[in-house]
């Protein structure tokens, strides 16, 4: 099972190799992958039909409880078969569709990654591993939407889809983590045991909302639906595969899977039912006015996804059963329709439904596919789409006190979809012949065979529902409601749903025949721009970018002094704050008292005069206009400090300080002799502000010293040890020197390394120009 999932990734790695070997048959060769996967999953069918669940375990990251555990139950198997089956068709289709494209290699790489990830999503039992695959589908979808990446639009759409779906994915991750924390497990099959823990947890609303953000973004639910129509920038096989049949269903899949885990609450019902219903209604209406064949199909897909979501929201065996059938039907007819759209686009060079009609003359097979698929989508008896729609109506009618609402929007949407299906699958082929391209001829076998199969399957599975799809869909239903079962039949007798179906067809036909006035009518409804979520996306996107720019310009403003200022401010805040914040026994005042008492006894004329000199020299350095004066005052300060070192018993320090100070002066002098005088750049106010913050910093230093010296050192063991061993072991009487070359000789090693590198750096910095490189 693991190999099955990984095979896609492995194949992705060798795609370039295969194309190098033989470019012509490579596509066909690669289609063996989904085919064999289909067969692989098909072999589980008997077991599943027998009621078994197959679980395989592979420990991947046990320390994080992330394991590649795969499970095959009815639902998973259904999805796996859809994915690999449609995958096969798409692979084959693309081998002809993209035959001349130079990007066929990346296409197969991306789509293989996608298919593998998708299989991972639908068969993985570990939520975290599932998330891994989930994100991979987003990435591969991104790469595929940006297939024509030379175009700005493609890049925009790709980025948009990625941000929306990956962003949603992160929300999903958050919910998965929190669920994992509460339930203590990441295995989906074990989570339903914690259902009550989860829904009674205080975090439940947040968990649910995060979870739904994840699934809604993937399944293009309002308000995240906008990315899907834009994603039609991708090549048609991609649209057919990812953006109608499989990836967008991943969200739906996950919602069904989590129905027993997070579902069964008011909140669940209202969020899913509400958003799903609204999405269904809105998208189907939007679809009516589309002129681009693919966008038309995309909106109808959104609408169907809304329907599915709504059904999951309504919950209950009936709803889920309806949802499964509806989903299955949709995968078939929408896949077929997309592929016909691809053929039309391929042959006529346009996807604008206003520019094409009567194509059946040249594209007879395609026309057949289109009509069959569209009929299924319209919900015409005896196609599988009809059964799905009947079940939808049935469920909506049974949905309790709000059934009127749900049935109303369901019917309206169904009418819209009816029209849309006709627009996309029937109208292009009938009427007067019209096409921008002159070389319209039937697509090759690789492109038509798959869609034909879909279209026929839609018919067969409808006609013989009870004996074909019944078994597997029943098992799929039972993987959610173990005791439930349904019996699919084309005809349930004359009931309200059938009546509504008839109504749907009638109104739908009116819509179809009056397309122009309908579109005009819809166009008349003026909705302000800011009501559209796609605009929200733009607002949020641009808003984030503007904010990013403002904050970055504010923080990273290029002025060193503001940088230093900020650092100082933070230092004063944190250090000063914690200094004044501590209330242990010895307060600061106490320390001051102790220190002053001790100090005053020791203060003498040197101290005072040094203080005065330092003060004068510093003030002079601050105010001086000449560079040399400033350097001179620096020298004086240095000399004074060495004086302090002498007074307090540090002759080595004093020597070093003096010599370094002199050397510094020389360096400054060598550098500065050509420079102009200082200018006073800043205003008085600025200077006062700077002085205040500098003073605050200086005071913190002063206070810390006073505080520390008032309390004294905790342990003097080190200096005592040095005094004892310096001569006896270290052979030296100058303890400071022995520390420098022996006790802490490695410090000195580092120190001379610093010096050396400084010298090398100075040399390289100043010399490099002369010897070439740049002018």
């Amino acid at each position: 099972m693991l190999i099955a999932v990984l095979s896609g990734f492995i194949v992705a790695c060798i795609v370039p190799l295969i194309f190098k070997l033989n470019r012509k048959v490579a596509g066909a060769l690669l289609s063996i992958l989904p085919l064999s996967l289909f067969i692989f999953y098909l072999q589980f069918l008997p077991n599943v039909l027998a009621g078994e669940k197959i679980l395989t375990t592979f420990y991947w990251i046990p320390s994080l409880k992330i394991n590649l555990n795969f499970m095959i139950d009815g639902l998973n198997l259904l999805f796996a078969l859809i994915i690999s089956g449609i995958g096969f068709v798409v692979y084959l289709y693309a081998s002809a569709y993209l035959a001349k494209s130079e990007k066929i290699v990346p296409f197969y790489i991306y789509i293989s990654i996608f298919m593998a990830s998708m299989l991972g999503v639908v068969t993985c039992n570990n939520t975290l591993a599932l998330f891994v695959f989930w994100e991979l589908t987003s990435i591969s979808s991104f790469l595929l939407i940006g297939f024509n990446h030379e175009q700005e639009r493609s890049r925009y759409a790709a980025l948009q889809s990625l941000l929306v779906t990956a962003g949603g994915g992160l929300a999903l991750l958050a919910s998965v983590i929190i669920i994992g924390q509460i339930a203590g497990t990441y295995e989906i099959s074990q989570m339903s045991a914690f259902h009550s823990n989860l829904i009674n947890n205080a975090l439940y609303p947040s968990i649910l909302i995060l979870f739904l953000i994840g699934t809604f973004t993937k399944s293009a639910q309002f308000p995240f639906h906008f990315w899907l129509p834009n994603a039609m920038e991708a090549p048609t096989p991609v649209s057919a595969y990812l953006h109608s049949a499989t990836m967008v269903k991943a969200g739906v899949f996950l919602m069904i899977k989590f129905l027993p885990i997070l579902g069964g609450t008011e909140l669940w019902m209202w969020l899913l039912g509400g958003f799903g219903g609204w999405t269904m209604l809105m998208a189907s209406t939007m679809a009516l006015k589309q002129t681009d064949l693919k966008r038309l199909l995309a909106y109808s897909t959104v609408s169907v996804l809304g329907t599915l979501t709504m059904l999951i929201g309504l919950g209950g065996e009936k709803a889920i059963s309806a949802m499964i059938i509806y989903l299955f039907a949709h995968s078939l007819y929408k896949g077929a329709l997309f592929l016909t759209a691809g053929i039309i686009d391929h042959e006529t060079g346009t996807r604008d439904i206003r520019n094409i009609s009567g194509l059946r003359k040249y594209l007879p097979i395609t026309a057949l596919i289109g009509v069959l698929a569209a009929l299924s989508g319209m919900g015409i008896i005896p196609f599988i789409g009809f059964i799905g729609k009947e079940m939808l109506y049935e469920t909506a009618l049974l949905s309790g006190q709000y059934s009127t609402l749900f049935i109303t929007i369901s019917v309206i949407s169904a009418v819209n979809i009816f029209a849309v299906m006709a627009y996309s699958g029937i109208l292009p082929f009938f009427g007067e012949y019209k096409s921008p391209s002159e070389h319209v001829h039937e697509a090759p076998f690789q492109m038509t065979s798959g869609p034909v199969a879909f279209a026929l399957l839609g018919l067969v599975s409808g006609l013989f529902a009870g004996s074909t799809v019944d078994g597997l869909t029943n098992k799929a239903l039972q993987s959610i409601f173990p005791s439930a079962s349904h019996h699919l039949a084309l005809f349930h007798g004359f009931n309200l749903p059938l009546l509504l179906s008839a109504l749907t067809i009638v109104v739908g036909l009116i819509f179809v025949l009056n397309r122009k006035s309908l579109v005009e009518f819809i166009e008349k409804i003026r909705i302000p721009e800011y009501f559209f979520p796609s605009k929200w996306y733009d607002y949020i996107f641009n808003g984030t970018l503007s904010f990013a720019e403002i904050q970055t310009k504010f923080l990273q403003n290029g002025h060193l002094r503001y940088y230093i200022f900020t650092i100082l401010a933070l230092f004063i805040l944190l250090v000063g704050g914690s200094f004044f914040g501590f209330n242990t026994s010895g307060s600061i005042l106490n320390a001051f008292a102790i220190s002053i008492e001790r100090s005053i006894a020791g203060i003498d004329i040197y101290d005072i005069s040094m203080l005065i000199t330092v003060l004068i020299a510093s003030v002079f350095a601050l105010l001086s206009q000449g560079r040399l004066s400033a350097i001179a005052s620096m020298g004086i300060v240095g000399a004074l400090i060495s004086l302090i070192y002498i007074i307090y018993g540090a002759p080595d320090l004093a020597m070093t300080q003096l010599s370094i100070e002199t050397l510094s002066v020389i360096l400054f002098v060598l550098v500065l002799y050509k420079l102009p005088r200082f200018f006073t750049y800043s205003k008085l106010k600025t200077r006062i502000r700077d002085l205040v913050i500098a003073l605050a910093f200086g005071s913190i230093f002063t206070m810390i010293i006073i505080f520390v010296s008032a309390y004294g050192k905790f342990d003097t063991g080190l200096s005592e040890y040095f005094a004892q061993t310096s001569y006896l072991i270290g052979h030296g009487k100058n303890i400071v020197n022995v520390i420098l070359v022996d006790f802490r000789g490695f410090d000195t090693m580092g120190e001379i390394t610093v010096l050396s590198i400084a010298a090398v750096g100075v040399y390289s910095l100043l010399r490099l120009r002369k010897q070439g490189g740049e002018q």
Partner: protein, 125 residues
């Protein structure tokens, strides 16, 4: 004693940062020299300060007894001074080079890497 030293450190640190907040690069580097001094003196002050008694073992003894200035902070400061000198020397050379390139020691004319980050910086090629 520490009290006076503490105030001296305060003065030095204040001057250091006042200088570092200027627009002239030379002043900033001078500020760093001041800061270095303040830092060293701080380390000196917070250790045991004893007037006049350096940590030398007398001629005729092999260990040092009684009170003496703590030698360890002295060694630390020595290291810090020397390192400070190295970095200072580099800073000075850097300043010189920058001055040659920009023709001014005004830091406000040296912020192209932050402000013109989306352009080619003139003088780079």
């Amino acid at each position: 004693m520490e009290f006076v030293l503490a105030i001296i450190v305060g003065i030095l640190a204040t001057s250091a940062f006042y200088l570092m907040l200027r627009r002239s690069l030379v002043k900033v580097i001078l500020g760093m020299v001041f800061l270095g001094n303040a830092v060293n003196l701080t380390i000196f002050s917070v250790a045991r300060v004893t007037k006049g008694l350096a940590a030398f073992i007398p001629e005729n003894a092999s260990t040092l007894e009684g009170t003496y200035a703590d030698p360890l902070p002295q060694a630390l400061i020595l290291t810090a001074i020397v390192i400070g000198f190295g970095t200072q020397a580099f800073a000075i050379a850097l300043f010189r080079k920058a001055f040659q390139k920009v023709g001014d020691d005004d830091l406000d004319k040296m912020n192209s890497t932050d402000i013109m980050c989306n352009e080619d910086i003139p003088g780079d090629k």
